[in-house]
Symmetry: D2
Subunit: 343 residues, 4 copies
């Protein structure tokens, strides 16, 4: 049984585990005041080429909660309807008192026009005040933002005094996509804050929040502690980021995930299987006959994304830093076998 269910099915990538083990016995202070957190922050500042506050957070949902809770209570965040905060965080943002204003996304992406329409519809104190835009890159649907798209969103945000926040749970997958033309430097230039995801890139856990806008930096550690998102052994997260960011391991991990997923996509396409949407990163969404799915699930684990029509279902196949080409090839072989036997 091999799992294409997600990109957090295994423990840590070898370099991460090695770094943790190697530095395990060294004593440090906790709660973000350890030298590893300082070192990892410094590496990130080098990568983005500018000043920033960097904080290491326990997970993606805490990152999103924290970023949005920087708003005043009556202010709202705009996102695509497929946005993780809108769908898959059990109301964690609303739990902090903020409304999410969702707009129809285009393959998981938000457009400047949709942002402006929301701003224009919110005119007075009987309505929430839109103040932040949430984007994820790669998106929840595996697509990515190109430089001109993110620039246009950034321009729209500045026009309407909105903060731009980028959820980078799979930022390395986006940066490693074939058609990508964004860099970490660009992202740091265009957003007010964003996070670099560790969990889906081979860390045991942890994300690195990067705050660029001076207005959002104050007292962030108070927010973290209050939310329960500050780890006592903060070094655990920062050590992993040192391991991932040194020598571009994070890009290497993401590239492996992307390449295997895209290889699988091409193989399926060549066999006449259609994709529900075209994605460039490590998640693909083939539309498969139900009978085929039933057979595949005997040997593979993956997510049934949604019914497509009476006889077909869209499934999600995810590759990760840990996926090996042989495993993808085995899947394709098994696919062929099932097809040959008739379904």
């Amino acid at each position: 049984m091999y799992s294409f269910e997600n990109d957090y099915s295994e423990g840590a990538c070898p370099k991460v585990l090695a770094y943790l083990s190697e530095h395990n016995d060294i004593q440090t202070s906790g709660y973000g005041l350890d030298p590893y957190s300082e070192k990892a922050a410094s590496i990130i500042r080098d990568l983005i080429g500018k000043e920033a506050d960097v904080h290491f957070i326990t997970g993606g949902t805490p990152c999103n909660i924290l970023a949005i809770s920087l708003l005043r209570p009556y202010q709202a965040v705009i996102c695509a309807d497929s946005g993780h905060i809108n769908v898959h965080e059990t109301g964690a943002v609303e739990a902090t008192g903020h409304k999410i204003l969702s707009v129809p996304g285009v393959d998981g992406r938000i457009t400047p026009e949709a942002i402006e329409a929301v701003v224009k519809a919110h005119t007075d104190e009987h309505m929430v005040q839109p103040k932040m835009v949430f984007v994820s890159n790669a998106t929840e649907l595996g697509t990515i933002y190109h430089k001109d798209e993110l620039q246009a969103i950034s321009v729209m945000c500045k026009k309407h005094h909105l903060y731009l926040y980028l959820d980078g749970a799979r930022i390395a997958n986006a940066l490693s996509a074939v058609s990508n033309d964004l860099t970490l430097k660009d992202i740091a230039e265009l957003t007010d804050l964003f996070y670099i995801g560790g969990t889906k890139n081979g860390a045991l856990l942890g994300e690195a929040m990067v705050i660029l806008n001076e207005d959002l930096k104050k007292d962030f550690r108070y927010y973290m502690k209050r939310q329960g998102a500050m780890l006592a052994k903060s070094r655990i997260i920062s050590q992993q980021f040192i391991a991932l960011l040194q020598d571009d391991t994070y890009l290497e991990n993401a590239r492996n995930a992307n390449e295997n997923a895209q290889y699988l996509k091409e193989a399926l396409l060549s066999k006449g299987i259609e994709m529900f949407m075209d994605s460039e990163t490590n998640q693909i969404f083939p539309i498969l006959p139900d009978a085929l799915i039933k057979e595949l699930l005997k040997d593979y684990q993956f997510l049934e994304w949604g019914r497509y029509d009476e006889k077909q279902t869209t499934v999600r196949l995810v590759c990760s830093w840990a996926t090996k080409k042989e495993q993808v090839e085995q899947f394709i072989n098994d696919f062929d076998k099932i097809m040959k036997n008739g379904i």
Copy 2:
């Protein structure tokens, strides 16, 4: 420079690290639905000798937030004034809308009488409704609850329909204290929910919430996810608990911490140093002359707890699973040297 600052200065204890490494490559589902979480829960159910829901949480503050957020919005939690939730969690409980009703503690412990006084003072809907009692064992001051004390609190809680919640960040230290007469079974019998602390017992992170009261079990995973306290790679926490709970490693780790701290306490007492309060576990609170502290801080890291008088300060010295007897002896030697040289 050796640190007695806290019990989370190092990474993980060797058995934990070994277990993580050994099981690193195995694929599992995430978010608590992995077989390691099931296995760890099963071990805990065996240890407490009864049915319980067990959830693995990212940290102690999230545990406290979650336990208290099970109350209805207008209900409040009673705790000793030194309680962690009251002092050191940046209002995390109030962030979920609940008032904390603090009462004077006795060396960190709450008394049944203090609980009843709060209940009697809250009579109608113009006041919050007390509904839960928070105790920590070991307490924030290193003291422990004995069986008769916890029983008396439990009886008082039942009398007034209050839930009893035990913060077990250092539960292993309590259970390993020389005068302890409580067992995990007792605690599971006397409380409605409690957590077993991993972070301060040699885990990289993580705590195990144990819910005993049927009324509090429903939809707990919704609470976890909404709070951002559910780890994608949940196995990371449960694997560590398997390593800690198998073969009583957690008690062994705690015993090492306690014994070293108590050894240090006895040594200081024998030299005429008084303790601010008598603690039985891995935290001790000697009152030291300021000049001595200044010298000690050249070679050791520890917390200045609070000014005692014009010339003396109470400090906190903490030992952990990682503390070696030689390190304590070195501290005592250095202490003697400084004293001999005159301060």
Copy 3:
């Protein structure tokens, strides 16, 4: 200058004011424990023909906040996208931590199918749990629910264990609409809780929350006080409800509002003006040429609802208990004059 801006432009209707004055000097306890509150509640129980808890609340937004805050934190409310809670309450519901799941409405109404689609899309603890349906009757667009429609919604709610909550800010307008076939008794039978609006029916302020479902009654006064929605001089609200509900004054007030608005609608229709949507109650939504609006605004106050096309705008004209037929006729005359002069 006459205002068709809303139905709360004047003070109180004469009977309300008379009752307040007449009973002004009598001493009572406060915070809902006065005999007037008991009497008004009793009148309401007679009107609905069944047992209910009745509470008098300061306004409509507090009612909505309170009803929805009875849910568990991770539970969500479903409403039409035009629902007041979704658009015009500045995130007051999210302020209590609850997500609103909005669905496309049909002229302001929600459908059972839309409700079921939401329920089916929310399958596990990574998403909020739908638990309440919000309807307003009359709707924010002046339309009403007929008996079969509300029954179908109620059936769907019961099927999926959802509470049904009806916002009755303009319930009297709905009950007085020409095609209405619902009674207060029906509404009390079909919903779990609802409120009877006073503010828009000729009261100075105040709404009467009627709780029918036993599960939702407990400790409601705690919620009220905590939200700041419990009036010290609670009698002020209940006295007004006695005045409104005695002798069906509330229906008479609403009928006056409806009739004048419908008279105005028919007059405009007969002159070739189209309505943005057909409403049966005291709000109408004619589409008017911009030049005409400009002229009308010299003598009348009303809301520009939204741009219709390049040269026309939808406006909202509202009549109330206080509107006199002469005022409507004056408006029609002025309309004719402007049209005659050419625009």
Copy 4:
């Protein structure tokens, strides 16, 4: 049966009712945008002799909620332990996520020393950040702040960058007390925001929030609406404030309440009855034998404040704008009669 239970037992004082009736039919916009709200605000600005934002709020608890919710989420408010927000608002402040740091009060007053002690104890992001001081004048115990006391508190607040907020539910009673040396101008000079109470001064409902500090003015109407504290017929509150503030009716109302209460106090003192604490305003706290209380309760309504000793209880007697001297004298006579008959 006459009630000394509180100062909100009757409807409105005659001038208020007259003003409401007189202006009842005039049409205005709602939600604070009516000309009466502008006029009342202007009167208040004249009374305090400086610029201020003035908002009319439905009640005292909403005022307190709103003032404190202007803080950042992790910031806390300091108050005396007897403070209304700490005891009698069902956790309404915590409901907005803010911790209350209560300190022992001196007859209901907070001291600069207590404030500073709290500030010094909160040193880092593991604790909430004190940012506001709450005082009530008159206090919940009927005592008042003198000018030097409020000045000293104001100086301490400025020293530690704390906002000073004054709950003026009974501000008129404080300003009318015999020993008072504060003016509205002083209060506006010394605080960052405060409210002038209407409910306990002869209004049907409503309080006037006065915001002086520029930093706290922004978007206050968003907070109001979100909290459900903005009245549709806002004119109802502002009209009452015009009636109360014109010709110093508010002071006259308060003076009547104070004088009758103080007259009663002196009478009881002269008969050997002791007061639990000395208050100067319209609330007095005599210690009465239980048997006497039992007899008095046959003809009078009042609050039993708390048990004093085995045979005596402290009661609270409150006079209001509506209390007549004859009613107080009747009480004294009845008191004498009961005493003469022996208890």
